[in-house]
């Protein structure tokens, strides 16, 4: 007999938290930002701009996140159809994230206090493969820069005792600071610098805060393209100006620090073998062609050397396999207890 049944008490499920660097190559801080001119000029490029960690033509290039500017009235991009006004990519983006957050077509997105509703947003949507389950709150330092003006942002998880929610979305406000230090817990005159929604992999920046003059609790004096759709259409832009503007702020800042957070569910199996069990082997190197043991000393004092544990279903299908790092000796004087971990 070679199969041994597991008893109910031989298996237990456990969950462990894994926190790891966000970006490709196990990098915590992204310092180089690249875009693809092909993607930017394509139809999706009118909605969002993909950001890579290296040149997009490089074989190792992977999308790290996407930038999408949204405006409640559709400003900043051309009409889909000149005869149908108000329907533009930026209007789509604003509506998309407003619905995602509020489930309400009339509520404008709010940054910080309730009076700071914003007509526009900039969304950094992190690639799903990068953020896994969620962001690790408190790990973010997002650096934006234009010229010599630098703005560092972090979330408020370290200065608030509980997370706030918009609907069912856990939300943190972006403040001036870095991951290890919040410079000021106060908001700008336009509200917070943005929102971090860790469980959906989203960072929503407040363009109004970034447009404020440079200074304490100020912005970067950014001028966004808020041209009416007619103006934009007549200008025939080949790219989304505001997405490009945000990309330039990130590229000049050259530092985007973030970690992901994942819960790994593991199942532990306890493999128990009694002293009288599994002391013989079907390994053909221990017998001759007639099945006789090669060594007479193994007849009454058999020894086996365990290398592998196989986990089976009722039918005998091998579902999982585990290997030891060195052979483990088993004989009639030894009992065995191994813990086998299976991750999901």
């Amino acid at each position: 007999m070679s199969f041994i049944a597991f008893n109910p008490e031989d298996s237990v499920i456990s969950s462990d938290v894994s926190i790891s660097p966000m970006w490709t190559g196990n990098v915590t801080t992204l310092t180089t930002f690249h875009s693809s001119s092909t993607q930017e000029a394509s139809t999706p490029g009118k909605f969002y701009l993909d950001v890579y960690q290296t040149s997009s033509s490089d074989s190792s290039a992977e999308i790290q996140f996407s930038i999408a500017y949204g405006h409640v009235s559709g400003s900043g991009s051309a009409y889909f159809n000149p005869s149908i006004i108000d329907k533009t990519p930026t209007r789509d983006i604003y509506g998309q994230f407003r619905t995602l957050l509020y489930g309400d077509e009339n509520t404008n997105i709010t940054f910080g206090s309730s009076v700071n509703t914003s007509k526009d947003i900039i969304v950094l949507s992190i690639n799903r493969a990068r953020f896994k389950e969620s962001f690790n709150p408190g790990s973010i330092t997002l650096t934006l820069a234009t010229g010599s003006n630098v703005l560092k942002l972090t979330d408020d998880s370290t200065v608030t005792s509980t997370a706030t929610y918009i609907g069912t979305c856990r939300v943190y406000q972006l403040l001036s600071g870095s991951f290890d230090s919040v410079f000021s817990s106060n908001y700008t005159v336009s509200g917070s610098y943005g929102l971090m929604i860790p469980d959906e992999g989203l960072i929503i920046l407040n363009p109004r805060a970034l447009a404020n003059p440079v200074g304490s609790l100020g912005g970067l004096n950014v001028t966004w393209n808020e041209d009416s759709s007619n103006t934009v259409a007549s200008a025939n832009p080949s790219f989304n100006y505001n997405n490009r503007k945000t990309f330039d702020l990130l590229k000049s800042g050259a530092s985007f620090r973030l970690q992901n957070y994942e819960t790994i569910s593991s199942r532990y199996f306890f493999v128990r073998v009694k002293n009288a069990d599994n002391n013989y082997t079907t390994n053909p190197t221990v017998i001759d062609s007639n099945g006789n043991l090669l060594y007479t000393s193994l007849i009454y004092n058999p020894q086996t050397f365990i290398t592998t544990v196989g986990m089976y279903n009722n039918v005998g299908d091998l579902i999982a396999v585990a290997k030891l790092n060195k052979p483990l000796i088993k004989d009639f004087t030894k009992e065995l207890l191994l813990r086998v971990k299976l991750d999901f």
Binding site: L294, P302, I319, R339, L342
Partner: protein, 222 residues
């Protein structure tokens, strides 16, 4: 007085190709209910019962062996299972299928009835719990069935070939097995002529003895 080593050995398991298939199938077959141990990679000719340092060192060369990491091919793992036999056993069980190789033309059939030699004092016997037969690539057979053992409640899938069209293994339990070669030509390649062959393996394991044998299965295009 010194401390006893109370460390529990923890090892990581990986899902096999078969395990992933069963998980995706979501029909209840992905349930780990039993385990087996094996000594794959061990060469017992390294065992030295004349070691000058005594019996504690007979297996020295084996115990120092580095082992490979686990791989996911379920047909290549747990080849040599450990078995429980009465102390004093001098002759280990081996399987006899009546064939050392199986070659079938397309649509041809064969029945295989395994026997176990040197088991429980008998020269040749049929194991009460039957045998587990695994075909390495189930696409090669249009029919693959085991008879003689009540497998009610074991959730054996009888879908042949597998609906995914992938080269996945399939197992059956029985005391006798019937196999019919596939009539599907595409497995031989687009330009294969009559006489072309494809090969996989049949592995049979005694469910009581743990004895195991693997033989090649070759299908010839007609």
């Amino acid at each position: 007085m010194s401390y006893l080593n109370n460390q529990l050995v923890t090892i990581d398991a990986v899902l096999t190709k078969k395990g992933r298939e069963l998980m995706a199938r979501n029909d209840g077959s992905f349930q780990i209910t039993q385990f087996a141990l094996a000594d794959d990679e061990i060469d017992y000719t390294l065992y030295n019962p004349t070691h000058p340092s005594g019996s504690a060192f007979f297996g020295e060369a084996i115990e120092k062996m580095p082992l490979l990491q686990a791989f996911t091919d379920d047909t290549q793992n747990l080849k040599y299972k450990l078995v429980t036999l009465p102390r004093g056993t001098s002759k280990l069980p081996v399987l006899n299928l009546g064939y050392t190789t199986v070659t079938l033309r397309q649509a041809a059939a064969i029945n295989i009835t395994p026997q176990t030699l040197n088991y429980l004092g008998a020269v040749s016997t049929f194991e009460p719990s039957g045998y587990l037969m695994t075909v390495g690539d189930s696409r090669f057979l249009s029919t693959f069935a085991g008879t003689g053992i009540d497998t009610t409640g074991l959730a054996i899938s009888t879908t042949i070939p597998n609906s995914s069209g992938a080269n996945l293994s399939r197992s059956q339990i029985g005391t006798s097995f019937s196999l019919i070669a596939t009539t599907i030509n595409t497995l031989f390649g687009t330009s294969a002529l009559p006489g072309a062959t494809i090969t996989t393996t049949i592995t049979v394991t005694g469910r009581d003895s743990g004895a195991r044998i693997t033989i090649p299965l070759t299908i010839t295009k007609t």
